[in-house]
């Protein structure tokens, strides 16, 4: 039985109901998480600890990603873009691509892998070993102690990381252009800075705040609803990562269309 019911219409109906139910549960979880995040009491130590692990410790991986992406983008514009003289505006295309799209999305995807999964496995393990129950009996609200700090840290850290991504991505492009087409770093940067508008960077940062929230939400939600011991925690970890990545890309498309039509 279950999803393998002989009646495909019934199976479809059941799957739809399950989907709607899941959206409702995530929505409720998100609403409660936001409510806990924006109202006192807060746990500053937990918030700082999350900033350290979500933001600061993600710097190396995000920095490397940004560098290689900027460099590869510059190479592609050079080798593929010469069909329409695009190499004359190479710095501009790298800057636009990094700030508006690749910086926010790649930083978010790296964090989906690094952070959403870690959150899900940590909270899932705490569920499985009754640590969350224990916290309630110690008169502490897990939503405030565990969930809110993670949502806050992820939502604020990712835009900051994206800013770093923007800078290092441009540096990657600059370095490649320097040895490839002998474009001096000074001219590269001058072109980039003249061309970029505040909105190019801002739109990327707005997106990344949304992505950060998605990462925190998926990590916490899947961890909190983990069932069935170590296997369940493993499943939760994977679901957190995959659902965060898919939602990030979907939200990217939505937000970009909103910005483009603005």
């Amino acid at each position: 039985m279950g999803l393998f019911s002989t009646n495909p219409v019934a199976a479809l109906g059941r799957a739809t109901l399950e989907g709607v139910g899941a959206i409702g549960r995530v929505g409720l979880f998100a609403a409660r998480g936001i409510a806990a995040a924006i109202s006192p009491p807060w746990y500053p130590r937990q918030i700082i600890a999350q900033f350290a692990s979500v933001g600061f410790l993600s710097l190396p991986v995000v920095g490397l990603t940004a560098w290689f992406t900027g460099a590869a983008l510059a190479l592609n514009i050079y080798s593929g873009g010469d069909r329409f003289n695009a190499e004359t505006v190479l710095p501009q295309i790298v800057a636009l691509g990094i700030t508006r799209e690749l910086g926010p999305v790649l930083a978010a995807l790296m964090l989906a892998g690094r952070v959403a999964s870690a959150m899900a496995s940590e909270i899932g393990a705490m569920r499985a070993t009754e640590q969350i129950d224990a916290m309630v009996t110690l008169s502490t609200d897990p939503r405030r102690y565990l969930i809110a700090p993670r949502l806050i840290a992820a939502t604020i850290s990712l835009p900051l990381l994206t800013l770093i991504t923007d800078i290092i991505g441009v540096a990657g492009g600059m370095q490649v252009s320097n040895y490839l087409i002998d474009l001096s770093p000074g001219i590269y940067i001058a072109n980039t800075m003249d061309f970029l508008t505040a909105w190019d960077v801002e739109s990327g940062l707005i997106k990344s705040a949304v992505f950060g929230f998605i990462i925190g939400l998926m990590g916490c939600y899947h961890g909190d609803s983990a069932k069935g011991g170590a296997r369940g925690v493993g499943r939760a970890t994977t679901s957190a990562m995959v659902s965060a990545a898919v939602l990030i890309l979907a939200a990217d498309y939505l937000l970009t269309s909103v910005f483009a039509l603005k």
Partner: protein, 249 residues
Amino acid sequence: MTTTAKIAWTGISKRFGAQVVLEGLELAVAPGRSLALLGRSGQGKSVTLKLALGLMKPDAGQVLLDGVDVTRQSEAERRASFRGIGMLFQGGALFDSLPVWENVAFRLINADGVGRAEARDRAVEALALVKLAPEVADRYPSELSGGMQKRAGLARAIVGTPSLLFFDEPTTGLDPITAGAINELIRDRVTSLGCTAVSITHDMASARTIADELAMLDNGRIVWRGRADELDHADHPLVRAFVTGQSME
């Protein structure tokens, strides 16, 4: 019992899917009394405690804490009433991201607003009560043996002197000497501090020391209840089997 019970389970039924765990459970503990809950493995003793803490919802019945039905309380109300309750989980349930002393002082720091330095001192005192040396305070739970984790969990349950204590197998995994000390500690909480205690145990010697009364849970309800000195001439076959340690015929 004429006074209101400190904690009372009335008409509790609880099932997981098709499996019926509790069915019409009736159990009450008067203030200042210590009850040992006995029963074969998997009969629902841990579930009984979790129901009292509102961590699970019963399918039917009420749990009255000081006369108030906890199954109808909101989460926030329950958290407030937990200030007077200490709970030792069967698996310890220590927070593995925090050092031992912060585990023990968790409620003091995060709910009672006690300063970290003072909370630490009080945690070290509580650790001494469960025979854990002050050096243990800075270790992480993963660096402790099973019995040490159990004792750290016990220290966490008694810190802040709650008036109602739940212990899920407090002496399991301990050597006889340490177990004896823990039994004394629980006994002392009840006699000198006037706490009410409900302890789950499989250890009959422990049960005799810590409990004024014993209750045997079987097939979803209490099948026998009596004082410690009534244990030896109880005529219920399950109780006799527990006392003699021989399987039932």
